[in-house]
Symmetry: C2
Subunit: 338 residues, 2 copies
């Protein structure tokens, strides 16, 4: 990385497409969360950035524990010395991967939501679990009524049950704050009922857009706030978009232009990106066709803001930390894969 | 790779999500193309699979030249010894990357569509170009009328002009063959007119779904045919889908189930994937929620067919070549990035 830094010191000189993060905006976001939810009240989710160096910034602001979505993220965080309290907020039945996590020099907690996941975890040396409860999003999680029984089963299998988790993923995308308030309350009613049956100290839930709304959870699994999705940039939140793809205009025609940032550089599950100052027409594999609002030149740079940061980051090997025109640092996106 | 092969010999034992290619179907596709468009009549596009080992299979069937979309693909192909005739069917103005391509032990041809791209290419030691002509898709390419002038300019800058290229990307997705026939003819009228002004031996165009329709081009830039997108699986084509993501059911609820294959394992720009035998509801980052058509068990495998192979492959480090339940080989997806 240092050799690369020696070569590229200006944003203008980065080969494109390049993942770029504004250092000041990111620091603002990290500081805002550390102030609002200090220490263990926030358990940052690394799936949003997949970068141990960024997680280190979060740990440095006082958050001791982290949330992960994949075994690879758990292993990478532990190997980076960030394993004080790692939660895999996801179900895994792969014996080899569970054994690898159990062998880590780290505190490892894994979500379970069924007899089968409890048996898989118990067989591999993992010692601590949370019972994952469905709170309204049709994805993982047992029903609220079933949580107590699963907690008992886990204990009978020798596992320590730290509490419950439940992700109100159907709520976090609602732009209207009043709706988020109302629907979070309904979701957390289910989770708290399950917690009464399961016991333990931990009620883990939430995300960036309900960070100050979900007051039932003992810890908020916020990931997006660090780099901040344009899609979730609601008026009531203090977090600001910090990430874009630096791209180069490679072709200009009568009515449109093309930049070198396509669907292999952008998570596309939330739709097209936006380009500051221009109108996006469509993305191909390696191209973004846009309608320029003012004339653009071949070689000119444009900033492409992805509609969804998480799967965007997963395409890139490194992120460039910049301040104005200066490249301050280059961080490997080292938690990709599974 | 051999150590991994020694460990994992069965599809059932692959950690998931895993990119899987059916060896017989792929061989059928490669053979069908090599028979229909032998030798240089097909210039396989490596952007579809980003895998030099697969390109080697194509070269072994008699195709001497390849199409690339990124400098990284050009460099990787040359380093793999597959540089007999490499075409970058894309515009690049990055001096460092152009110089790196010029320095390759390979025949390197680069597309140009403007004075600026000609000047960039001429300044860096690249010797051969094609004039890229817009044939109806609003993306790169000069207008047909402008091609002759750009060809002259390139020659004046000391470049050898091998001919023209033009991609009828607005045609290749049309399911109705009659429409593809009609619209390809209209597109190629523009390209042939440009070719008359530019000269040279090469008229490079087309893709998988017009491989036998585009009879104007001297070579077809087909990529999809090797692994074959479900979306392009039209009745008139002999190519068959050969790739899926092997995924594991990790959670089962009343009415839906969840597999471990989400938007970070799937190109999502063409929409949701399909799951053999079930109904897809939605994808999250690491999850696919589906409605099972028959009961599924936790730990059970499902085959997820992406809606778009190219950006799917770009998420994965390796592809597993299988025959029935046996893993025959593991190929690194070694042309990722830019």
């Amino acid at each position: 990385m240092s050799a690369m830094l020696a070569r590229v010191r200006k944003v203008q000189d980065l080969p494109t497409p390049a993942l770029v993060v504004d250092a000041e905006t990111m620091a603002h976001n990290l500081d805002a969360m550390a102030t609002a939810l200090p220490g263990g009240r926030c358990r940052p989710h690394v799936k949003a950035h997949k970068t141990t160096r960024l997680a280190r910034e979060q740990a440095g602001r006082g958050h001791p524990g982290f949330t992960c979505a994949t075994p690879r993220e758990m292993v990478g965080m532990a190997e980076a010395g960030l394993g004080e309290d790692l939660l895999l907020a996801n179900e895994v039945v792969d014996r080899g991967r569970l054994e690898a996590m159990a062998a880590l020099d780290a505190r490892v907690t894994v979500a379970v939501d069924s007899e089968a996941t409890i048996e898989a975890v118990a067989a591999t040396g993992i010692r601590e679990v949370l019972v994952d409860v469905n709170v309204g999003l049709p994805r993982c999680g047992c029903s609220s009524d079933e949580a107590g029984r699963l907690g008992d089963l886990a204990r009978a299998r020798g596992l320590a049950v730290r509490g419950v988790m439940g992700y109100e993923g159907h709520v976090v995308g609602l732009p209207e704050r009043a709706r988020r308030v109302e629907d979070t309350a309904a979701s957390m009613e289910l989770l708290i009922r399950a917690h009464q049956d399961v016991g333990g100290d931990v009620v883990s839930a939430g995300g960036t857009t309900v960070y100050d709304i979900n007051t039932w959870a003992t810890e908020i699994q916020a990931g997006t706030y660090a780099l901040m999705d344009v899609t979730y940039d609601f008026d009531d939140l203090p977090f600001r978009p910090a990430l874009w793809i630096e791209a180069t205009v490679i072709s200009v025609s009568d009515g449109w232009a093309v930049a070198d940032c396509g669907a292999k550089a952008l998570g596309m599950d939330h739709g097209n990106p936006t380009v500051a100052g221009h109108t996006v027409w469509f993305c191909s594999d390696e191209h973004l066709t846009f309608g320029p609002e003012q004339p653009v030149q071949i070689g000119e740079r444009v900033r492409v803001f992805p509609a969804h940061i998480d799967p965007t980051v997963a395409y890139h090997e490194r992120m460039h930390i910049v301040s104005g025109e200066d490249v301050l640092d280059v961080w490997p996106v080292d938690l990709r894969g599974w």
